[in-house]
């Protein structure tokens, strides 16, 4: 029981981080990014590849990933998604377009990753066992959790106590109104999209230290991140954290008590309950 609690909590740290990335992209830039999981796997691939070919520590990779992912995601938003934002007449039309476009991107990412590494991204880093509260786990899980918490806390502080952070939150409330008060909405959206993608890629690099991924696993992470975002409420950072903890605990519980093959089914179960009883999310406000 304690084992489930500890490893579930440790897992939820990285989940929360990845969900925050998606939350920024959907909540602020209004792009339903279904290539999110593939960006995560790209981050994981970078960590795996640099570690196995050049013995670069995944923690250093996290720092290397930041500028690359930021520029890459900014370019994607600027050149591929901006035309869609411009031509869409309504939020619904933009959603359909962005869903299809990001599907396209996700398959292209998978194709590229398969040509780099077709097998599993398997490597060992900090896998010594450690003991927390009497429950045995591995050091890499703890390190990934602590880094995820650190990054998430920095993001939270930035969003709440800095000027650009306020601008980002304003855009998430209303694009029209924030345009009227002098916020450069396209610029903030592009930067937020890039930031969200960066956080996702960093999360991927962290996850790869303790879960073995492969090129085509991205969609599972996209789903989990989406379920967390919906459960927490779109645009709600606190909600995403609580939701990530719930998902991490339920998944770990199902994996240990029932069958590891049923974690996705467990996530779906939570999803259905949320959809049926609280579609606006645990912390979300009811849409008017």
């Amino acid at each position: 029981m304690l084992d489930i609690l500890v490893s579930g909590l440790l897992l939820s740290g990285t989940y929360a981080l990845v969900a925050m990335g998606l939350n920024l992209q959907y909540g602020v830039a209004r792009i339903m990014n279904l290539a999110n999981g593939e960006v995560l796997v790209l981050g994981a691939l970078a960590a795996f590849w640099l570690y196995t070919t050049a013995q670069i520590s995944p923690i250093l990779t996290v720092i290397l990933v930041i500028p690359v992912a930021f520029i890459g995601n900014w370019l994607i938003y600027r050149f591929l998604l901006t035309p869609l934002v411009r031509r869409s007449k309504s939020q619904g039309a933009l959603e359909v377009d962005s869903i299809l476009a990001t599907f396209g991107m996700s398959f292209i990412f998978i194709g590229i990753m398969v040509s780099i590494e077709g097998g599993f991204f398997f490597y060992k880093y900090l896998s010594e066992p450690i003991s927390i509260l009497g429950s045995t786990t591995s050091l890499n899980r703890l390190v990934a959790f602590l880094l995820a918490v650190l990054i998430a806390a920095a993001l939270y502080i930035w969003l709440h106590y800095s000027r650009p952070g306020v601008a980002v939150r304003a855009v998430s409330v209303s694009t029209e109104a924030s345009g009227l008060v002098g916020i450069n909405v396209p610029r903030v959206s592009a930067l937020t999209f890039a930031l969200g993608g960066t956080i996702t890629a960093v999360g991927g690099a962290l996850i790869s230290t303790f879960i073995t991924l492969d090129a085509s696993i991205g969609v599972v992470f996209t789903l989990k991140a989406l379920i967390i975002v919906i459960m927490g409420g779109v645009g709600e950072i606190r909600g995403a954290i609580v939701a990530a903890i719930i998902l991490g605990l339920v998944e770990t519980g199902v994996a240990t008590l029932v069958d590891p093959g049923l974690t996705l089914a467990a996530a779906y179960f939570i999803f259905v309950i949320i959809l049926l009883f609280r579609p606006q999310g645990l912390f979300g406000r009811r849409a008017v």
């Binding site: 869609l84 619904g92 959603e95 194709g111 996705l264």
Partner: protein, 309 residues
């Protein structure tokens, strides 16, 4: 999307009659392609029944298809049931499954629906594997029938024809009119008194029924059924690409998209198997950036321009 015309129905009838001769003119490889074309035509047209007017992107095709294949496999292998009774059963299960999914997700905005269907095939596959491993014993499922590829082709042709006919009837009915209003503006639809959720659920249920039927018909082709194979998530994306490539405005759009995409896919897959996934990606981007209304939209645009001259 305008109501389909009688003229269109006659053309469709002629096309179906001509298509029925394909197995007599071809065999082996080209007959196999024909079966694929029919399978995807039926799936893409039934996808279009729901997603065309509502603009809700469904990725559940693989789930229904898999349910159909698995029900036939399990029924014939474990319970010695006949193929036809299992075909009927799979249609019922597919419909019930779709109705349940529809009731849970279609009351909300389209995004929730897309997300839900995205992982659905994978989730059902996990559940089925788990049930099979823990309760049924992990045996393979065999589907042994007398059917040849030509028989499967004709069955799929009939199914595709039925889907088209149903779509034609719906598009001229009150339900079709309601769906067009929903697709135009859902808020307006609600305000003029349309039960939007119910209309969507009914349509989605037909998609589920036909998806399962197609999966059931294809099952004898594999003879050995395994969850990993029948619940391939790629199938859902194929269906979406083919339907949108053809054009989402017309009921006959999918036919135009299925054939070129399948030919390109088969060519790339046999020559560059590692790069085939890139084709899916490029296809999505082409649809979004260059063919937002599909081939059909492009043709109609050109025709309108020619007429204007």
């Amino acid at each position: 999307m305008n109501p389909a015309t009688v003229q269109e129905l006659i053309w469709a009838g002629v096309l179906v009659a001509l298509a029925a001769f394909w197995p007599m003119m071809s065999n082996g490889y080209w007959l196999g392609i024909g079966v694929d074309v029919m399978m995807y035509t039926a799936l893409a047209t039934s996808w279009m029944l729901f997603s065309g007017p509502t603009h809700y992107i469904s990725l559940a095709s693989a789930a229904f298809f898999g349910v159909g294949g698995f029900v036939v496999g399990s029924g014939m292998s474990d319970y010695d049931a006949s193929f036809w009774s299992m075909l009927a059963l799979s249609a019922v299960i597919g419909g019930v499954l779709a109705a349940l999914i529809g009731l849970a997700t279609l009351r909300l905005s389209g995004v929730y629906f897309v997300i839900f269907t995205l992982g659905l095939a994978e989730m059902i596959r996990n559940l089925v594997s788990w049930v099979q491993n823990n309760f049924l014993g992990s045996r393979g499922l065999y589907v042994l029938t007398e059917f040849t590829d030509a028989h499967l082709y004709w069955m799929l042709l009939v199914t595709a024809g039925c889907v088209y006919l149903l779509g034609w009837i719906i598009s001229r009915s009150r339900l079709g009119f309601a769906l067009r209003i929903i697709g135009g503006d859902e808020t307006v639809a609600r305000h003029v008194g349309i039960n939007t959720a119910m209309a969507k659920v009914i349509l989605f249920t037909t998609t589920g029924v036909f998806g399962a039927i197609v999966g059931a018909i294809i099952a004898p082709r594999w003879s050995y059924i395994e969850p990993n194979q029948v619940f391939s998530p790629q199938l859902s994306f194929f269906v979406v690409i083919m339907a949108l490539l053809g054009g989402s405005g017309r009921l006959w759009g999918p036919v135009v998209g299925v054939i070129p995409f399948l030919l390109i896919w088969n060519w790339v897959d046999s020559n560059f198997p590692n790069q085939s996934i890139l084709v899916l990606g490029v296809a999505f981007l082409v649809i979004v950036y260059f063919l937002p209304h599909g081939f059909v939209g492009r043709i109609e645009q050109l025709r309108a321009r020619a007429r204007g001259r």
